[in-house]
Each structure stands twice: as C-alpha cells, then as structure tokens.
C-alpha cells in the first residue's frame, strides 16, 4: 500500500509538471492550435507514464553512490529527451528548429522541478525528524537530572 501511494503521488506530481510545461509550450509557440481536451490529457498521461517508466535507469541492487546517482541522472535526462521529443513532435507539440530547443529546455526544467519538489519534501521530513531527535534528547536529559544515578555526582 505504501508503494502504491508513493507511485500515485509521483504520477500526479510528474503529470502536473508535464501538463504545465506542455501548456506553456503550446501557449508560446502554437497559441492557435486546438487540441480536444480528452486527447490533450490522454497524451499527457502517456508522457507521464513514459517519464515514470524511464526511472528504471536508477534501479540498482546496491545503494547508488553520489557519483553513480549523477551519472544515472544525466542518462535519465538523455533518455527522456530521446523518447519525449519525437513523440511530442508526432503529436504536434513542437514544429520547427527553435521549438525543439525550447521543448528540450522544458524537459530539462521539468526534471529539475521534479528533483526540487523531491528535495523540499525531504527537507520537511528531515526537519520533523531533527525536531523529534532534539525533543527525545531533552526528555532523556531531564529524566537523568530527575533520577541521578547513585555515585554519579
């Protein structure tokens, strides 16, 4: 259940990021385009699914070192660009040479945003943990002060 919740949350986050990026891309370069709502949302759902499936590049039996994590992050970005750019072109999200650069930039931005969201959620969790560690320490200290061991003075 824990994993299902985690992946649903990831799906929703990535979906939101991709939708925003694609929306602004269309608004900037193809404002006159008309996409049926269902088709648009359906395509974004496919994009999200691909983005999440590509996370398999991070899979490892052993804990990744920081260097290995960076290598895989670059590989993941390249994989996303290689898969999403042709698909987006086929679906009419970008047309010309300049568009491709901007769309590639949007993918990079979306990935950076994903890591930023992840980092800020982790920072919140870390703050909660640190607060609890501090509380537990103070509690133990006051317990020790209240019940000093014989001969400990």
């Amino acid at each position: 259940m824990k994993y299902i919740t985690l992946w649903v949350r990831r799906y929703v986050t990535v979906y939101g990021i991709i939708m925003l990026c694609t929306f602004f891309m269309c608004l900037l370069f193809n404002p006159a385009s008309e996409l049926p709502v269902v088709t648009f949302f359906g395509r974004i759902m496919v994009f999200t699914l691909i983005a999440l499936l590509s996370l398999a590049v991070y899979y490892s039996k052993e804990e990744l070192t920081v260097k290995a994590w960076w290598v895989r992050t670059v590989l993941h970005l390249l994989l996303l660009e290689a898969v999403l750019l042709p698909l987006a072109h086929a679906w009419g999200f970008w047309q010309s040479g300049t568009d491709i650069l901007v769309y590639a930039g949007f993918i990079l931005l979306a990935k950076a945003l994903w890591h930023l969201v992840d980092y800020s959620l982790n920072a919140k969790t870390a703050a909660q943990i640190n607060e609890k560690i501090r509380e537990n320490r103070l509690e133990k200290k006051s317990e020790r002060n209240a019940n000093p061991r014989p001969g400990n003075n």
Partner: protein, 145 residues
Amino acid sequence: MRVTVEQIDPKHEEELIVRCYDPGAAWVLGVAEAASGQRTICGWQEDTMHRLKLSEILYFEVVDDRSFLYTQAAVFESKEKLYEFERMCAGSTLFRCSKSMILNAEKIDYVRPSLSGRFEAVLSNGEKVVVSRKYVTDLKRMLGV
C-alpha cells in the same frame, strides 16, 4: 523445565535467579541479556572475539559480501548476514536504513536531505551515512514522528 514467576510488592527490588546445570549455556546467557536489557553480538578483530552491546553499535554494513560492525572507537567484522542481524535487532533502536546498512537511530545527531533524493544522517562521531527514502518511514515510526 519448571518456570516460576512470583509477583512481588513494588517496595522490593525485582530479581531474577536462574538455577541451571551450566551457567554458560546459551539460554542462560540469553535470559541474562534479556533481563539486563542488553542484547549483545559477536564482533571479530583479527582472531579475537568481542561481545558488543547493541547499544554500542553505530551501524552494521555489508561491503563486498563481508559484514562489519562500527562502534564509536573501532570496526569489527561480523559473521552475521544483513537479514540475520536485522532479525536480531527487532525491537531495538537499530533499523534498516539502506540496501546494505542497519543504523542505530540513537546515534544520529541529525539528518539532512540530499540532492539524490535520499537523506544523509550525521552520526555522533561525525560520520555521514545514507538513509534511503524507502526506509525513512521506519525511522520516523521509531522516533514517534
């Protein structure tokens, strides 16, 4: 074996007396450890065996299929596998923190997020270890967050 449990008045000190044939028998040592609240594990340094209290251990790590126990002052090799050690630690302050490590929550000074989507725990000796997000929920539960 006959087991006798006697309920006493809180005014008296609690006491455990074991009547046995062999005071060195594993079950006797186990009872003594459980009663004192101090579970121990064997750690090896060259050919010398040391008995280490679980509360002394900073973390247990598997590197290249060999297991190591880290305390504040020294490193010991262990014969336990990760899953065996994890089973031994049930109910203690040690928890699985990554694919190859079991960490003592009591020895964590503070944690901080890392860019790699994981956490970095800074221990009481200043050492930094990785805590996977997958296992951070166990740490939160243990601390009561």
